[in-house]
């Protein structure tokens, strides 16, 4: 059963040790929730998992294999939702979605999947509206719909429910639950709110207590 494991991870940002000797494990169908105060490294850890940044030390392994060995296949497995929503104001909602789906090779039947993705997040009526007219919540829903339009096993969600109303938050939980049911994995950072059932919580504060910055 493939799992996603991190061992003795060390993250340095701007000459400061964000966290050290951090380990985690997520298996298929599992969920890992990152908790901890601001600046404890939740976003940094998610970016390390996605491959945007490289750990100063330690190993990230997918199914026992070091991820750094083959970054291209790892990128194909990952969907990353950060704070920015990557919505082009001049493209319509549908065009934004089809672009990202096509880029991930979901070209066959992309039309059908984009419609179901828009319906899953309750914005099918906005398909032909240019991005510049969307509200923050609608942009975030479009960004989340992107990960449904082209399936990938590992979801990395950085505070997905910010700027979302209760209805949208419920849809996020539903999407996460169905993704896990199909054997997918989810790692998400959250500020309170209901935990997905059976989720493992990783408190990052424990990994950066007592660490002095070592002057560069």
């Amino acid at each position: 059963m493939t799992d996603f494991v991190g061992r003795q991870l060390v993250c340095v940002r701007g000459g400061r040790v964000v966290f050290a000797d951090l380990g985690f494990r997520v298996e298929a169908g599992g969920a890992l929730v990152l908790a901890g105060p601001n600046g404890s490294g939740k976003s940094s850890l998610l970016r390390l998992m996605a491959g945007l940044a490289h750990p100063a030390g330690g190993v990230l392994a997918w199914g026992g294999e070091d991820v750094a060995g083959d970054p291209a296949t790892h990128r194909a497995r990952v969907h990353y939702v950060g704070h920015l929503d990557a919505v082009k104001p001049d493209l319509t909602v549908a065009e934004n979605l089809v672009f990202w789906a096509a880029l991930r090779g979901g070209s066959d039947g992309a039309g059908a999947r984009t419609r179901t993705a828009l319906e899953a997040f309750g914005i099918p009526h906005l398909a032909d509206v240019p991005g510049r007219y969307l509200s923050a919540g609608q942009r975030r829903r479009l960004n989340l719909a992107r990960i449904l339009a082209a399936p990938a096993p590992l979801w990395l969600l950085d505070e997905p429910k910010t700027a979302l109303d209760t209805d949208a938050a419920g849809r996020v939980d539903a999407a996460v639950a169905s993704h896990r049911a199909e054997g997918g994995m989810v790692v998400m950072s959250m500020h309170g709110g209901s935990l997905p059932e059976g989720a493992v919580v990783l408190d990052l504060a424990a990994f950066n207590a007592g660490l002095e910055a070592v002057g560069c």
């Binding site: 340095v12 050290a20 660490l211």
Partner: protein, 263 residues
């Protein structure tokens, strides 16, 4: 000067520092360099003073005037070593940037960042002395001679590096971006040299006398070499001083960050 030790903290809860410790040492603990440079700086200083004093004496007093150019040939003893140092520093920056990028060693990036202003000064001096030498020789303050033009372009490459290096809030970002720039620039230097030389011959009436002309007489070679050696030790001296400055600035930044994050 003892190395900066980590404060004691409850073993049970805190993470295992050993793993992080050796990583930190390899990446961010330059104290060994600080100790070595502390000892090396006085030596380079003394060497520079001796070499430059001897060089100036040889250049201004002991060497003969040129039968054609008369006394103005003495300008060569600062112009040529400056031009050499301009090229030498830029290649040094490219090498340091490559090391910094491949082995991710922050000291290499600091070496490149510290070399840039020194190289820029030498390039400026090469241009200035070239112009002061050109006036009596060719009758004009600036001549679009192939070599002088290439040095002028090199000067802009230096300014570009320094500007990009300081254009970011996070110094690590500045270092990485300018490393890529200096590598791209370094690859382009021969292309620029080739095209400027070709452009120069296309528009250049052949009448301008070439500066080197016949092989340099031994009595003129000595001052040149001594001045060049003096410039090199000067470069190493100021390089170490500036690198120490950068490292201390890094420590100040880290301490300020720690205050902000109240670790």
């Amino acid at each position: 000067m003892k190395s900066y030790k980590k404060g004691p903290h409850p073993r049970a809860r805190g993470p295992d520092i050993r793993g992080a410790g050796n990583i930190m040492h390899r990446f961010a603990n330059p104290n060994r360099f600080m100790r070595l440079s502390q000892r090396a700086v006085p030596w380079f200083a003394a060497l520079t003073v001796v070499l430059l004093a001897a060089g100036l004496y040889l250049a201004l007093v002991a060497s003969p005037a040129d039968y054609q150019q008369g006394e103005t040939v003495r300008i060569m003893y600062v112009h040529v070593p400056s031009a050499w140092m301009a090229m030498f520093c830029y290649s040094g920056m490219a090498a340091a940037a490559a090391v910094g990028m491949i082995w991710k060693h922050p000291l290499a990036d600091l070496a490149a960042k510290s070399t840039a202003p020194i190289g820029a000064c030498f390039t400026f001096l090469a241009l200035l002395t070239g112009s002061l030498w050109g006036k009596p020789m060719w009758g004009a303050w600036w001549v679009w001679d192939a070599r002088l033009t290439s040095v002028l372009v090199l000067f802009f490459l230096y300014l570009g590096y320094i500007a990009l290096n300081n254009a970011f809030d996070d110094p690590a970002r500045g270092a990485k971006a300018s490393s890529i720039l200096v590598l791209v620039g370094f690859v382009n230097v021969p292309i620029i040299k080739f095209s400027v030389d070709w452009w120069n011959t296309l528009h250049q009436p052949a009448s301008i006398a070439r500066v080197e002309g016949p092989a340099i007489h031994a009595s003129m070679l000595w001052p040149l070499l001594v001045m060049a050696a003096g410039f090199t030790t000067y470069y190493l001296w100021v390089l170490l001083v500036r690198m120490r400055g950068e490292i201390v600035a890094g420590k100040i930044r880290a301490l300020r960050l720690r205050q902000v994050h109240g670790l």
